[in-house]
């Protein structure tokens, strides 16, 4: 396969990933594996774990991070750009169409009633995601303090969310320094 054709295949793969995964975040991982390992052999099961670890520990959308890393490794800068465009293009197209018709749709009393039920469901979904992330991330008193502190500061409405994240990172760094000097 020529390089240009393979680059096109790479774009098409990430377009499919964007098109066929619902829910975002970790829900996209099985589809990513099917495309980049099973179908095309661009990476293997060991490397993909490393890529996920990296995609989750640097900021940003996980699927976009994965597209950029693999694209760059396989094809250089333009591979990264094409993978990124591929993974977000389905969202742009689909959501734009929905947004165009959304106001008209909501004027329909049936759809308005359905959305009453859907809104309640979303609250339950977000609560479930919060508890899941919490169970994974909160191990020990320090982490619990970080979670509670962030919750209270955010609910107070006076502190910027970005500042809360920066403060937590700073607290983690300070705790590391204090611990480090104790053990010496």
């Amino acid at each position: 396969m020529t390089r240009r054709k393979e680059l096109w295949e790479f774009f098409a793969s990430f377009f499919r990933i964007g098109l066929f995964t619902f829910g975002g975040g970790l829900a996209m991982l099985p589809m990513i594996e099917r495309e980049v390992i099973d179908r095309h052999g661009w990476t293997d099961r060991d490397e993909i774990l490393d890529i996920y670890a990296m995609a989750q520990s640097v900021p940003g959308v996980i699927a976009a991070n994965t597209a950029v890393f693999l694209g760059n490794r396989l094809f250089g800068f333009w591979g990264a750009v094409l993978g990124l465009v591929g993974v977000v293009l389905p969202s742009i197209l689909i959501i734009t169409v929905i947004a165009i018709f959304f106001e008209q749709l909501k004027a329909n009393p049936l759809i308005a009633a359905a959305f009453e039920g859907i809104r309640a469901a979303v609250v339950g979904l977000i609560a479930a995601a919060a508890v899941r992330v919490g169970r994974r991330a909160v191990k020990g008193g320090f982490a619990l303090a970080m979670a509670l502190g962030a919750l209270l500061l955010s609910l107070s409405g006076y502190v910027n969310v970005i500042l809360i994240i920066i403060l937590a990172g700073l607290a983690g760094y300070l705790q590391y320094r204090v611990k480090g000097s104790e053990s010496q």
Partner: protein, 178 residues
């Protein structure tokens, strides 16, 4: 200038979210409320739509908010801005990854940021929950509370697909709220 505001807001959202998915909601909610781009109720609708349509949630939300604020150019600017940190960050970090991943300093920072993000997601659930549950005719939406609790247990304990729960609750809404 709306495009600069959209770009800068969504660039920050992309840059300060670790872990993807729901972790971004707190930042998106804050940006929307701050600029008055959407009502809280519309934000909940976006989360539902983002969950029901394919693609990353943050990208879907960025496209929707951008389109509502400044049509198609707005959608493109917001979506580009939310993924730009991925492009910059991953291109730089993939060079240093081998040193970066085992650095105890970096590990320590993330061990504090991750639980903080969990706390932020809980605060989103509480804020949105309060908005939904106070929307009833008598100021308290008891059916909404029952639906939200049911979805929480089904998704958290039984691992039911969120997409299926949304469809089910749309049908419940048709029956109960008409």
């Amino acid at each position: 200038m709306i495009f600069v505001e959209l770009f800068w807001s969504f660039f920050k959202i992309g840059m300060f979210t670790v872990g993807g998915g729901y972790a971004m909601l707190a930042l998106i909610q804050q940006a929307i409320v701050e600029h008055g781009w959407l009502r809280l109720e519309e934000f909940i609708d976006i989360v539902a739509i983002a969950e029901m349509t394919p693609g990353p949630i943050a990208v879907n939300a960025a496209t929707f908010v951008g389109f509502r604020s400044a049509s198609i150019p707005g959608a493109l600017v917001s979506t580009g801005a939310v993924v730009l940190p991925s492009l910059i960050g991953m291109l730089i970090l993939s060079r240093f990854w081998s040193q970066y991943k085992d650095s105890p300093k970096v590990q320590a920072i993330f061990q504090a940021v991750r639980p903080a993000i969990a706390g932020l997601i809980i605060s989103v659930a509480i804020t949105l929950g309060a908005a939904v549950l106070s929307a009833g005719a008598d100021g308290f939406n008891i059916l909404g509370l029952v639906i939200a609790a049911g979805v929480f247990f089904a998704v958290y304990l039984k691992n039911v697909d969120p997409f299926k729960m949304i469809i089910l609750c749309a049908i419940l809404g048709l029956i109960l709220f008409r």
